[in-house]
Structure formats: C-alpha cells, structure tokens
Amino acid sequence: MGRYLLRRIPSVVLVIVVASFVGFSLPRLAPGDPAVTLAGPDATLEQIEAIRAEEGLDQNLITQYFDWVKDVFNGDLGTSILSGRPVSELISSRVATTVELAVVALIFMLIIGAVLGVIAGSARNRYVSAFVDSFNSVLLGTPPFLVGLIFILIIGVELNLLPFSGSVPITEDPVEGFRSVFLPALALALPPAAAIARLVQAQMRRTRGEQFVELAVAKGVPSRRISVRHVLRNSTDAGIVLAGIRAGELLAGAVVIEAIFARNGLGQLAVQSVQNRDYQVVQVIVVGAVAVALAIQLLTEILLAALDPRIRLT
C-alpha cells in the first residue's frame, strides 16, 4: 500500500495545483468584487475604488495568486476581505459543525443503506421485498432538503421531539449535540442510503445465482450463513464505491441542510463567501473540498482492496 500511495503523490499534487488555480481564478471571473460588497449598495465609484486600493484588489492577478500560494506555504491561508478575520479562524470555527454533520450522516447512511440493502436482498417474502423496494424508491426520489423540511414540520414543530434550529457541539454537550445533529444528519443520509441499499440489494441477488453459492446450498450450509458469509461479503464492493462517492456528496448536501437547520457550518460560509465575493475564503474552501474528495477516493480504494482479495493496489 505504501508503494501505491507513493505512486499517487504526483497525481494528487497535480490535482491540488489545478484546484488552487481554478479556486483562485473562478471567483475572480465573476462580475463584481469584495470592494463592491464592502462599499455597500449605495456606494459611489470613488468609494469602491478607495476600498479596492486599500484591500490590494487593484494588483494584477498573477501577483495575487503567487502571493497567496507563498502565504499558504508559510501557514497563512489569508484574511477574509469582508470580515477582516483570518481565513483559518473562520474555517476552524465552522469545520467542527460540518464534520460533525457529515460524520453522523455518513454513519446513518452506511447503517441504513446496509440494513435496507440486506433486508431487500435477503427477503424471501415478496411483500417485505416490495415494501423495502417502495421505501427505497421514495427515498431515492426525495432530495435531502425536502426530507429536512418534512422533519422540521413533523418532528420539530408538530411533535416537538427534537431540536431543529442551530447546533450544539457534540464535544461540549454530547447528548444535546447529538440531538441537534440528529434530524439534519438523517435528512442528509436518507437519499444516499437508499441508493446504497438499492445497489447492495441488486448485487446480492446477482451473487445468489453464482455457482459458489449453489455449491454451498448443495453442501447443506445453513441459509443464514450463506447470506452473510457468501452472498453479503461478495456483494459489498459496489456499495462501498458508491458510499465513497456519496460521502463526498454529503459535504455538498450539507450546504442546503445547514441552511434550513440554521447550522453555521462550512457550507454556509462557502455560500456567504461566494455571494460576497470574499475570494480569500472561497479559494481555500475550494482547494480544501478537492483535498477531502481526494482523500475519500484514496480511502475507498484502500478499503476495497482490503475487503476484496481480487483487488491489488499497485
């Protein structure tokens, strides 16, 4: 695995460099700049130009890019033009909320996806199978924000069972923290969980037709043992790949879920920064998101290789 990781270093570096360039240039290609936001809606051109000069936004882009890269290598991610705060401070104050949401959602997604997939793939009762199939279809067709709104209305407002506005860090108060993250994480996890379940179900049905399963049946191996040891283990590959892909998407989905559950996480920071043309924050978030996606991809491949002896990391 060490050699595999070493071989991946050049491509990882290349992707990060390209991401830094895209993350830097893309926000600047959009019309308007932070000076316009800082100056306000009633500003005159003179006021905008004065702020632009004060913030160094009138320098050429190449100089700004290399200044930023140099600062990053010195451990300085930059300063938000809008708030005047270090980008590292803004991100660190929010990252815990988003990671908390993404991790809990990931756990929910894996559990619910695996459980529903195994039930649907193992069920001999066609009514159970049809029910799980229908349930999965509904979840697949329901976007997380809609699930979230339904949760807010029913579980929050009507039944008053769980919090639905704001967040409490799990590290500060584990019980309140988990309660506050429960609904947003579940809303975020359900649709991708259904996709994983559908894949596991299909793979299990296919695996059941394999010769080694028939041999096990012929040898009199108990059906439960066949399901778990032979069928399920050989049906998880595609589910794991999809889970890896969906894990990356959880961060993207967190943007909307954070908004409707009023959780101030990285997603909200990204949206606000894009709207306000706060370049320094946007570029760091873009590169950070790419780095996280790369890490998840590498982890997925390593996990696949660990679970499936046929796959060799070279």
Binding site: A30, T37, G84, R85, L149
Partner: protein, 536 residues
Amino acid sequence: MRSTKPMRSRRGVKALAVMCALALTAAACSSDDDDSSSDSTPAEGSAETDAPSDSGAPAGGDGGTLTIATAADAQPNAVLATRAGNNLWRRQVYDTLTSVNIDTGQPDPLLATDWEWVEDGDGWKMVINLRDDVTFHTGRDFTAEDVIFTFDQQVLPESASQTAPVLQRANSWEATGTHEVTIFADDPIGNIFDAFALAVIIDSETYAGVADGTEVIGTGPFMWDSWEPGSSLSLVKNPNYWNADEPKLAAIEYVIIPDPTALTAAMQSDRAQVVFDLPTLDAQLLLEDDKFAPLVVPGPIFPLGMDITQPPFDQVEVRQAVGYAIDRERIVEQVFQGAADPSVLHWKTSEPGMDDSYAYRYEYDPDLARQMMEDAGAVGTEIEFTTLNIPNVVAVFEIVQNNLADAGFVVTANVLDTAQFDELQAAGDLGPIFQQIHGLNLSAASLVDAYPALRDGNPSQEADPEYRQLRDDLQAATDEASYATALQTLADWMLEEVFSLSVVRGEAINVQTVTVNGIEYTAEGVMILAGASLSE
C-alpha cells in the same frame, strides 16, 4: 471461487445497529425529559451555539438575554454607513450626538446637550455642547476630540458613509472646548442631523480594531462582547452607561440565519424572541400565533429609473407613459400582501409639504399609457430591463415588466446578481430602464445626494443644472416652511421629468414574541434596545 474468511462484518453490523438504537433512544429519552420542563426552559426546537443558559428569559432579575434572529450579519468595517445588519446593533454599542425622533421628526439630544447655528462673519457656525459625564467602554472620558475624529473618518471615501456629502458641505470642524464642537459652513446645513445619525461616536484609540470586530468600543448602553462572522454577535450590558436607567437587558445575542425557512423555524422553536428579514408572507403566517406580535418598520423603496439619454426614454412623454403604466396596487397586494405604500416619491410622504397629490400623481391608467406611447411613436420599441436578483425586487420587476409590455414595449429581462448590479449602479451604467432598491430613511434633503437613483452621476444620466439647483435650494432651507416650499418645487420638477419614480415603498414586517417590550426606532429606521426588556 475464492476462499472466504470468517465474517467480521456480522459483528460490525450488530454493533452499528446497537449504536443506532442507543442514539435514537437517547434522543427520545432526552426529548421526553425536556418535554416535562418545556414551560420553564427554552423550548424544544432551540439549540444554540455558545448561547448563555439564560437565553431568552429574564434570569435572576438581571434583565435576561434578548435573542434576535436576522439574515444580515454585522459589518463593523462599515460602522459609519447604513447597512441592514449594522442597523440592529450599532446604536446599542455606540451613541450619536443627536437622534431624530420618529414621532416629531425633530432631533433629540443624546451626546449633544444643545446646539445652535449662529452667524460667523461671512459664514455660519454650529456650536454643539456635549455631555461631560460619558465614558467609552474602555473607561476613557468622551471629549470633543472624539467627535472631530468621527467626522474626519466619516468623510473619507473608505467609510462609505451615505451622509458624507451632508458633512462635506461644512468647511471645517473644530474642538472649541473639552466638550464643545464647532462646525463652520457658508450657510446653515438644514439636514446636518442626518449626518449625525450615521456618525456614531468612535474611539480613536481603538478604531483600528473595529474593522475586524476585535475591538469595537463605543459609549453605548451595550458592550461588544464577541463576533463570529456570519454566525453570531454577542453584546453585554454596559454597567457604566451614562443613563443610569438603561439598559434593562443583561445581554443581546444576534444569530445570523440567511435562510428564510430557518428564520421562521428559529421563532417557532423559541430560539429567538425577535426575527428580522422574514418574507412578508412568512411573517404574516407566524403572526397567526398569539404568542407573536408584529414589529413593523419602514422598508425600502423600489425606484424605476430610465436613462434619459437613450431612446425611447429621451422623450419625456414616454417616461410619463411608464409612470401611468405601472399597476402599483397589484404590486402592493401580490408582492407585499398589502404592507406597502404605492407612493411614487423617493422620500417619506410625511416630509413637509408632501401630500397625496405628490405621492400618488401617477395612478395606474393603462389606456392613457398606451395612448401616450402611440403618440410618441414608441410602441414596439425593444428595451432591455435590468434589475438585481433579490426576491422582492424580482417580484416587483416581473409585474413592472408585464406592465411595460402591455404599454407597448418589447421587453428583454436582464437580472444581475447583486454585486454586478451594484458595480454598474455605482458606474451609472444600468442600461435604458432599470429596477432598483434603496433603503435609507433620511430626510429628502439628504436622500437626493445619497440615493444612487437621485445623486450626481445617477444611472438615469439626469444632470440638468436646474435639478442641482433645486436640490441645493432644498438643502439650504433651514425652517420648515422654506423646506416644504423647496421640496414641493423639487418634487414637481422630478414628477414632470420622470427620470426615476418609486414603484412602491415597502414595509418590513418583523416579528417578536409578546414577551419583548420597549423596542424603539429612530426616524432613520435604526433599532434602539436601551429601554427594551423581557417579561415572563
């Protein structure tokens, strides 16, 4: 076939299932526990980051913490300018020299005790006496030098202050005593109190820390405690406030929630006691619950501007036809659910000299509009209609777009994002016709130089010397009668020229719980919480 190893995941699946069950049980149990005490604690839906435990209720007679949910974050780097987010906290942390009374329209003393314009040789001077019992939150005494420092900052372009042009009409200002400031000018500046309204008195020693919110020091009833940009702002009581009767609250928490649905949820969950920036419909739905009460404040105006140098709007008849083509009542009902005034004026209808004959001069008359368009030969003219992508503005824009099409224009919509629109607006380059939004609540004399739609360099390209003269006459008026006459003359001219008309003046319907008392507003629409309190 490959060999199979003992299945580790069986145990794993069980463990995960147990974890999930435990989590659900914990959530449910905790919920049950809280249900039993929901009458005495913040309700179930609330979960605040870093919120103090007494949030939302008076605690131990200390006044309690008022929590305000708003979509607009603080912008301390624009502390001398009007910003939606700043209007909620600025007058809690800072004081001004005077405060224009929302009922009388006259300035009330605040840090200034009295003032007077007197002749000074060929010119005039305004002598302002200041309170001598005021200290900044650092403990330093407030003096006339702080007022001078504030004025010096306000007129810098970087301050982006909308009332800088008012102050720039003065020739100079000096500290003529420890607690006396004198402003020198060629003529009395009638609207100087508008400049004072935005000139919150800043501390010269710590001003460098204002921009990033690390050190925001004023003389106001509350002290700046902490700010997480885009997330929350905390203020705490100033125990040494010069008015011993204020403030009543122990602290104020502002939670920043950009999403309208989540703003509503913050109120429904009892996380906040006051909410701003709700869509009108959402506010009205919340108000169906008896535990909420409305908090109505003046909203923005929606000016419709036309570039008088571009055909067909270079013909005044076409511009007047547009005035008659707009169905303002429909906009009031459909966009604002009745909470708006279909006035064509850019300023308040309560300004001296204004009445219905000014406010509603262009009533909806599609037949007349069409006839005027035909007479001017403008029917079938293709126009690009520009606006910015803010929900209420776009809703107004869509109705106006239909009205323009009915009048005979072939309209192409051009909806820009806010930053792009603002930049073009500042450059005076919004195209032949455009829908704007402006939200200052100053006197007409100040607005004519502050609103992008009206000031020099406006995107209508209106630069007639007569227009400048009429504005100068208005700004030179020092008594109510002469001000009313000057404003009527200006309004008549503008309503004849029609380079810009307000489509409607909206009202912002905010919502508070009935437990909140004493929220006040200045005439400029700035919130005052010094006298606010919470009841059980």
